[in-house]
Amino acid sequence: MATQTSTTALPDTTAGPEFGRRWLEVVHEWVTTVDHKKIGIMYICYALIFLLVAGFEALLMRIQLAIPNNTFVSPQVFNRLFTMHGTTMVFFVGMPILFGFGNYLIPLMIGARDMAFPRLNAFGFWISAFGGLLLYFSYLGGDGLYGAGTAPDVGWFAYAPLTSPAFSVGHSTDYWTLALLLSGVGSVATALNMVATTICMRCPGMKLNRMPLLVWLYLVTSLMVFIAIGPLTAAQIMLMLDRFAGAHFFDTQAGGSAVLWMHFFWIFGHPEVYILVLPAFAFANEIIPVFSRKAIFGYPAMVAATIGIGFISLSVWAHHMFTVGMGAWANTFFTLATMVIAVPTGIKIFNWLATLWGGKIHFTVPMMFAVAFLFQFLIAGLTGIMLSVAPLDWQLGNSYFVVAHFHYVLVGAILMMIFAAFYCWSPKMTGRVLSEKLGKWHFWLFVIGFHLTFDFMHVPGLLGMPRRIYTYEADRGWMIWNLIVSSGAIFQAIGALVFVYNLVWSYFKGQLAGADPWDAWTLEWSTTSPPPAYNFAAIPSVGSRRPLWDLKHPEDPDSNYEM
């Protein structure tokens, strides 16, 4: 409030209201905003910064692992790098970027003027951003009074008892715990908002079975966030009690249980994978139809498969624990549960294929990324089936095969769809289309780098290379594979830089987008780019799943065919 008073008191010497504003006013506007579009963009920007940071950490690790017995970084630094890389990518890149797109798109797609709880929305963003800053502040503050520590080095799933005071001195683990706790609070706030918005704010005519699939998938994701974040938060609080109040939940030296932590963490951790991947599916559900010029094939099946994945994903967590000695019956159960999830996931892939079938496929940059997603997500799913086979997991669990598998999901599927979403929707956000030429450079550099890195990363896993080792023996035959893997990282890094350059260049110089650059069918394309603060001058009313199709083809509206 004080800032506001002082700025209004300053003499306004500028000519236009838009261009001459002082930067402080701009900052003030963004900091205090409750507009879902601005919050969405802030989520995306903050996630992009962390994406570059965590990507740089990965690059350092790949330099270290390029050759055996390398001394580029010390073991302690390496252990911090993989911990920070994993934690950052999951909690401060994946979650915020997906929440950012959800925040931006959901109200526009359901014809609403904002989220149901705009102030809660801002709270969710700022608390989660604070968590990210806290995680990185550990580089300065993690030493604590003991003079040991700096950044967390316990791995992103932080198995007990490595996190107990006996093995983790200083405050690095405390920063990790607090960062995740805060990010969890922000996630629940945003998820709650998305559910309330989807249930209560739809425009007239938009029944649940007329919602764009993107909104459906975000609804399921948000419901999963409710269930999954609880155990994570509980585990963090127990860990803090252990570390600060001398409790013994995970303190094995005093009778605590290391396995208890694993259960708590993975009851969160596995649904988390689906929380991250469902938004990627959501983007694919919008992008694939528009660029193949066809309605999505099997809308009800897609919704059903999504809900199925949501439920089944809550019962598969212990496939991360096939080697901890749960016994034959538990291993059998979790093998089955994990395999079953392939069925609804397969339905999705087949429906996307059927959507492409008979279409007119336009290979724009968003579509190229979506196609790469389809190709790579299938492979990620197949290696997932291999790992669901418990005996195979006894061999491959915690090896580089697993690292390759989940990077196939996180990079090959999720990050590819995030890039697709940028190329598809940033014209709506900025009013300018991203350069297709730079986009194609970005695409090919990144895809080639991705395959060099993650295709070949499976092999050292099959040859017995465990994850999280800062170096390896020269006689194991792993070097050639690691060298190829590391070389791919360079292509990906250049590709990512081209992408960032494209974002900046196109923001200032890109071609003007107009309201509907892709000739698409959902409501966000019916308003200007960027949309006004109130989104729609008049609240729209819809009669089918593709309201803009109905407008463009009044002779053959979609509503005739709704199942």
Partner: protein
């Protein structure tokens, strides 16, 4: 469905790609590793077939239905198809059938491995994980050693598998020798079991597979599968008391008057420490630092001087001995055959 013959050729292909690698999961040399290998061929066959069919369809669709500029005529939208329940049903039922097959094959291997009957001739070994080394105890033979596990070769007609009872003294670890079996975690406050039965004599390598701290990477495993005669000789030698070599008396004194004995044990002497590896027969081992470097006098001297030469982050501190004492301790340790 692939025939057995085709699976075998697939296996050969995979093995060719992986060469003769000392820790490859495709070079099984024990029963658990063999049954996992067989299962992996089935899984690779099925997933490979799915890969070819679905990616082939994807490529076909992309080529067949790509948009081509057609000149003057206005772009017309393709026919809109909204779905088909029959088709949805078919691509639900077929994956379900595949899952059933995979699940049954998997369950069989889980039960045959985890619930295998323990033969009377089995050897019992207790494995205790430490940051960052392995303690091996043979309770029935009265042997305590470290980092190099000796077990007899197991003849299929008279199987003598080694039953490992595994746990941890500090953080989580995992025992993984890919050519012999899958991994089993070593978790403090929890006792797990696993079994290995190497079919040919030789050295099998592996390493800790659960992140356990700074030197997780150099917590290497060496399993020596000995012939029955070799194994009997090894047991007899390990059961002997520590060697008493008068020429190493000075080094022994240095050893016993420094902090060495707080952590290390040499049976029959005042050295009864438990935090570090038992050194009673340390000179009989091929490597030091849990497989980090060959066990030579110069490596031993460098290790005692400062383990960080080989293994920065190892829990043994820099000993700050002068050159004379270093030489003496080294020659003492090298007599502990």
């Amino acid at each position: 469905m692939l025939a057995r013959q085709q699976w075998r050729s697939l296996a050969v292909l995979v093995q060719f790609a992986s060469g003769h690698d000392p820790t490859s999961i495709f070079a099984p040399a024990g029963t658990p590793a063999h049954s996992i290998f067989g299962l992996s061929m089935l899984v690779l066959g099925i997933t490979g077939a799915i890969f070819l069919v679905v990616e082939g369809l994807l490529l076909y669709v992309l080529l067949r239905y790509r948009y081509r500029e057609t000149g003057s005529e206005p772009a017309q939208e393709p026919a809109q198809i909204y779905g088909s329940n029959q088709i949805e049903l078919s691509w639900t039922v077929i994956p379900v059938l595949i899952v059933v097959i995979l699940f049954l094959a998997t369950a069989r291997v889980i039960f045959s491995t985890e619930l295998a009957r323990k033969p009377a001739a089995a050897l019992d070994v207790t494995v205790i994980g430490h940051q960052f080394w392995w303690e091996y105890r043979y309770p029935k033979l009265g042997i305590v050693t470290a980092n190099e596990l000796h077990i007899p070769v197991s003849d299929p007609s008279h199987p003598t598998p080694a039953y490992l009872t595994v746990s941890s003294a500090d953080t989580d670890h995992s025992f993984w020798v890919p050519r012999l079996a899958g991994k089993t975690d070593l978790i403090p406050n929890k006792v797990n079991t696993m079994w290995i039965d190497p079919e040919t004599a030789g050295l099998y390598l592996g390493q800790c597979a659960q992140y356990c701290g700074a030197q997780h990477a150099k917590m290497l495993i060496r399993v020596y599968a000995d012939s029955p005669q070799q194994f009997a000789a090894w047991v007899a030698q390990q059961q002997k008391p520590a060697a008493e070599d008068p020429s190493a008396a000075e080094g022994e004194a240095v050893f016993q008057h420094n902090a060495c004995i707080s952590c290390h044990a040499v049976a029959g002497t005042v050295a009864t420490g438990k935090f570090g590896p038992d050194l009673t027969h340390v000179a009989s081992r091929d490597t030091i630092g849990s497989g980090s470097v060959p066990n030579t006098a110069s490596n031993m001297r460098a290790w005692v001087d400062n383990p960080a030469h080989f293994k920065p982050g190892a829990l043994m501190p820099e000993m700050h001995l002068n050159d004379h004492d270093l030489d003496a301790v080294t020659s003492y340790l090298m007599t502990l055959k």
